[in-house]
Amino acid sequence: MVLDPQLVWNGLVVGSIIAVSALGLTLIFGILNFINIAYGDYMAAGAYVAWAVNAQVGLPLGVAIVAGILTMSVGAVVLDKIVFQHFRTRSPITLLIVSIGLAFIIRNLIRAIWGPSGHFYDLPMEANPSFLGVRFSVEQVAIMVVSILLLLGVYALLRRTRIGIAMRAASDDRMLSRIRGVDTEKLVLYVWLIGGAIAGLGGIMLGLDAQLRPNMGFTALIPIFAAVILGGIGDPKGAVAGGYTIGVAQEVSVAVIPSEYKFGVGLVALIVGLLTRPDGLFGEATR
């Protein structure tokens, strides 16, 4: 079978979006140790705020994107102070269920404010150029470039900065890092700031590639979970690798299975991944 370069390209674009989103989710999991079901709704909220600034207020898309990212960055911290903070000592399952409640609130707030139907960003209409037989849009190129820059940035942050090193330490062994003097609450603040910003960016990318819908983030959650779990839950490098793997697998699968089932690829990858390598691609047994 010859791989269709167009499908590979599509896969890399989708993979970029999943990789970025999975990175945010896995960072939050690494420090707070619970699966945030509302994460997809953070993504949608970021996308909608950017859309409102872009299409409703009429500001340039660049400004709108920054506004969307900042809103979710601060928003994630505010939601932590209002909601999650009070459950810090509870079990991860309780926090997971709390995040279900939060997901209800955010998703329906979006529906109440911006309506249930779809929206598009205000983008200049251009014919899609093609290169070596692969048709692509300017937005897709931007998505790929931005995602690579972001992934490199987060990598540098985790490797080179004090806060990044503290994050990795806490993610590895919370107790030990606390004993060694890491300020956990400060760490939590940074994680929400960064994780929220990444969620917002992921949502905006999703909206740029397709359209905005109130449940867009929630729908994207399963491939994102698949990427996180495939990469080893809490492992940023793994989440990125998992994201690109799922994205490419999903799009390339169209060559052999009916395209309606391409979303099943992520689901099957998640199930098979969990059953065969529960600690992820690069993982060693930690749980």
């Binding site: 079901i37 279900i100 939060l102 209800f104 707030l109 089932y261 199930i271 969990l274």
Partner: protein
Amino acid sequence: MALVDLLLVVGVIAGVYSLLAIGMNMHWGDTGLLNFAHAAFFAVGAYTSAILTTPPATGDLATRVVGFDFPIVVGLLAGTALAGLVGVLIAVTSVRLEGDYLAMVTLSSAELIRLMIHNEAWLTTGAQTLKNIPRPLSGVVPVSYDIFYFVLVWTIVGVCYLLFTRLSHSPFGRVLHAIRENDDVPLALGKNITVFKLKSFGIGAAIAGLAGGLWAHYVYAISSIMFLPSITFLIWAAVIIGGAGSYAGAVVGASVIVFLRQITRFIPGDVPFGDQLAYIRLMVVGAVLILVLYYRPEGLLGDAERLQAGTSE
């Protein structure tokens, strides 16, 4: 529509959701299993019963070639059994996984099943609505049909409530509770905990399938968008608000949520934010869920001692 008729409709929905919550309470309340596939069991029950009790579609645009025109009782029983079987199949692959991993796999399995329902038109009418599902004893009952169905559904809820409460206090139920508290203890006593978990999963899923059948035969027409994961999350909210581990709590929690959602129907459309009321109700559900978890983590009717269970990392 008169208020009484509306209340009957809401009551039927509350009964169906109560059955779903009873099944979920067997999983989470009794056994401590994080099941996020409930919407799929609901769908399997609904579609099985619908396909068995309707003839194949006819005409030029017909896509569904499968249909049996069996009596409704056959459909309901088969839907219940098949949902239970699907529950066991999903559990076979995943029940050994730790809590939140189990949640992810079951959620994904449910979406996979919904994807199949959405795409296999020869069997399920696909993306289109499966219509003309017969209503039991339609045209025969001497009272208003909603009264009949209300009584039917709540009789089944009552029977299931008694059955599951007894099951929960039986030796079988006590092993489930032991599994919930700590896997090691029943294991040390020589119990095959995997088999017990599979049985719990199958039984709870079967009741969700029965709920699906009752739903399909009440609403005439079903489509795949009725079975989104949001149903599963609503049932979770119902079980938590009612109090995990309590079957009375499951029924109360489900009824509270259905009434919170459906009460919109009683409010005239011209009040401020009238258009947004449906969304605001769901936001209220989310807020109530969080508040209950904070102020009364054992739920309305739950047992505080159960709280420690099934939550170990």
